[in-house]
Structure formats: structure tokens, C-alpha cells
Amino acid sequence: MSNESKTKGEKSDLIPIGQKMLDSPFLLLTAGIVVMFVFYTLWGLYEVLFLPKGTLP
């Protein structure tokens, strides 16, 4: 391993994990889509599609 790539690796190790995550647009995109679809869309679809039919009195 050359000195240059060593320094690069060391620099990368210095970046906190949280910042690395924020620097990844595709991770953020995935997280945004998953949270919205799980809590709003899929949960909402489940509730409305499996709503028991009302019975006449």
C-alpha cells in the first residue's frame, strides 16, 4: 500500500460514522422511502383494505 492511499484511508477513518451516513445520498433516499412507505402507505393500505364490512342493524 502506498503512503498516499494509507493517508486517504486514515482520513476516511477519521470521518464519524454519522457524517458518512449523511454523505450518502442513496442511503438517505432509501431511508426516506422505507419510512414513508412502511408507516403511511403500507400500514394505511392494510387498514383500509382489511377493514371489516359493516353489518346492517
Binding site: A31, G32, L49
Partner: protein, 511 residues
Amino acid sequence: MYYRFVTFHGLDMLIFFIIFFEMAILYFAGPVLLNSRLPAPGLGWLSFVLMVVGSLLVNVMVYSGKADVMFTSYPPLKADPLYYLGIILFAVGALIVCILFLASLAVARKNKTYEGSIPLVVFGALTACIIAIITLLHGALIFIPTLLWSMDLMPMDAEVYRLMFWGLGHSSQQINVAAMVSVWYLLAGLTVGGVVLNEKISRMAFVLYILFISMASAHHLLVDPGWGPAWKIWNTSYAMYLAVLASMIHGFTVPGGIELGQRLRGFKNGLFEWLSKAPWSDPGFSGMMISLVVFGFMGGITGVTIGTEQINIMVHNTLRVPGHFHVTVVGGTALAFMAVSYYVFPLIFRKRVAFWGMAKVQPYFFGFGIAIMGMGMTFLGSMGVPRRHWDSTFSQAPFQPPFPDTINLFQAVMGIGGLLAAAGALMFITIAVVTVFFGKPVTADSIKNGESGIPQGVLKLPAQSYTGANVEQVHKEGAKGTVVLAFVFLVCFVLYYFVNWKMLASIWKVG
């Protein structure tokens, strides 16, 4: 005719105008700010054509009377299939722009056009892009089946439509919020040398938007019988309040950054010299500040309050709802976009702003007009006046709703505010069209001579010092003026929230 114009107004304002502008922000925040190559410019032009054709198709259908379905187009109201096709074409075009923006981030990273993390303004634009993708996915998931339904090729469940539509309809307004906040940060720096108080906090606030703000779509379904309280309360309260927290963070860090920037430039006397000595005649600055106040104080407070499940029952289908979204989308987002345009004209188009005297007052007309109109609508809604009805007094109905006479006063308030805002909008359109197509060019001499039509932030970039006794003192004292304003905001918030619960208690007697 009334419903035709409501349809036209809703789609052109809430979808076409605002998303066109947001896509422009993505091009600006990606290739321009990161100084990188735009990947596949041909695809960019294709997306532009799709968006223009889609929006024209929808407008033609609405004007020809084949789509009197309003913005929401709830089934069983059915429009001409070309109306839905127009929306799909527009959405596909916008989706391509989002993909191009993500690709431009990858290109910039590969070509090392920036070091470390992307700048905060670009991060805000990335947030807007992600919310746009979430929005457009919901749009595709509902409008493709609706197109087939309009051709009698498949059935449509009204409740499923409402759920999926609001994944598009409300989330599209959250693209606005993220894009608007990015514009605030940008203008704070350009106009008065505003600083970012804390990069980590501001970025985390944007992440809260990415994760939670779209779930606020459930607000529109709070009175629907199809969903239980757990789904409603989770989506509109617990999770969504994290997005509200994000807005409150930005609502503090933007003016706090402006205050610190101004103090670093020497305006450090008392609590508010940084405000009194601010460049209020610069439409970029005044527009941003009015947008911030109207969005935060009026839009934010009303939004959180009427999004509360119990209070929502008093608000549903009254004029309080449009009162809320006119101060957020129009007084907040549209005004912020107008404000940044005054810097885009000289910096991107290289043109001096035409009718400079009119430009200086335009944000005041538009911002205060919308604030007055929104206030009128909110009071009318509080008295039970309905929205989306051509005659809100029900004059020809077999029974008369018990409206107090004061509604006439607030109808007038709404009308006066609307006229002021419309005048401000016409001023902006005139200024923008004349500047872009016939404006005088910005030259080195025109900047040197300080000629009119060039905002003060372009004439002379706000200079700051980073060392010395003044800097130490400013950092030690912090943004104390903004802290006072934040407490004023919190008092208003608590009072408004309490008054609404009190109103609910007085009209909804239990036991």
C-alpha cells in the same frame, strides 16, 4: 365555472409553478453550486418538454370543461383521461430531473469538485429531491390506475385513492418546505453574510424532514372513517412532530445565523441592531425575512394546531385550511422563491433587475397581502365558513347556517389581502419577464458604479472578519436577539394552541 377555476388555480399553483421552480433549484444546487458537469443534458431537455407538455395538457383539459374535478380529483369525480395523462407526463419529467440531480452529485464527487461533505444548501436541495421522489412515486402509484379507471378499464376504491393521492398532494408541499429552507440559508449568506450556527444540527434537521415530513399527508384523512386512531395519531403527531421540530430548528438557525453574520460585520449593539440595520430595501433580504416570519409564525403555528386530530374536527373543510396553506405555500415558499430570483437574475442570467424601485416594494405587497388574506381566511374558518363552495354563505340553501355578521368584515379582510397579494404577484411577473428578456446586462462597470437593478449582496459580497476581539465577543454573546424572538414565537404558539382547545371544549360538550 367556480370549480373550473379552483381546479386551474390548485394545479397550476400547488403543482406546476412550484415544482418547475423546485426542479430549477435542483439544477442550480447540483451542477452550478458544485461546479460539476450536468450528466445527460439531452435527458434534461426531454424532462423539460415532458413537464411543459404535461402541464399544458392538464390546463387545456381544465379550460375545455373536461376536468372540473378540482386539485384533489377525488373519485367518483371523473376527468377526461388526457387530464390524468398530463399529470403523469409532468411527474415523469420531474422524476427525471431528480435522477439527474442525484447523478450530478455522483459526478461532482467522482470529479472531486468539492471537498468533504456537500454544502448545506446542496444538502437541503438533496432533501427536497428525496421528498420529491417519494411524492412522485405516490403520484405514479395512484394516477396510472386512475387513468385506467377513467377509461373504464379498472375499478377505483375512493379511500385507497385518497390515501395514495395525499402521498402526492401533501408531500409535494413538503418539497416546497425543504427547497424554501435551502433558499433561506442561501439568501442569508448572500444578502448579509449569515453564518450557519451549527452544520450538524441543521443537517440533522434536514434528515428529520427526509424521514418524517411526508407522513403529514395523513392530516387530510383525519376525519375519514377508513383508518383507526393509531395510524392517524402516529402519522400526524408522534412522527410528524419530529418534522415540526426540524422546522423549529431551521426557524431558529436561519435568523440566528443572520444575527451572528450581522454582528460579525459590526452591527452588535443591543438586541436588534442586526435587524434594524439590515438591508430591508434589498428584495432578496426582505422577501426572505417576510417569508420566514409568515411561514413560521402563521403557517407553522396554524399547521401544527389544525393537524391535531381532536382540533381538526373543527377545522375540516372550513376556510381555515386554505388560510393555513396560503401562508405556508404562498407567503412562505413562493415568496422565498421570488426573493432568490432577485439574485438569480444578476448572477445566472447576468441581467440587472428591471423596475428596481418596484422590486424593492414587491415582497412587502406580496408577503403582507398573503398574510392579511390568510388571516381573513383563518378567522372565517374559525366561524365555520366552508371552503370549496361557490357561495360560502349558502344563500340559496333551505336552511341558514348560524354565521355571525362579523364574517362580512373578514370576507373584506380576505379580499383586501388577496388584492394586495395579486398586485405583488403581477409586479413580480412583470419584473421577471422584462428582466430576463429585455433586461440590461450586468457588467463589471455596472457593479463598480453601483448601478440600479443589482442587489447589494451582488454589488459587494458581505465581508466578515474571522479573527479579533470582536469575533470572540460575538461568539461569546451568541444570537441573543434571536433567542428573544424564539420565545415570542413559543408564547404565540402556546396561546394559539390553548385557545383552540378551549374553543373545542366550548363547542364539543362531553357528558
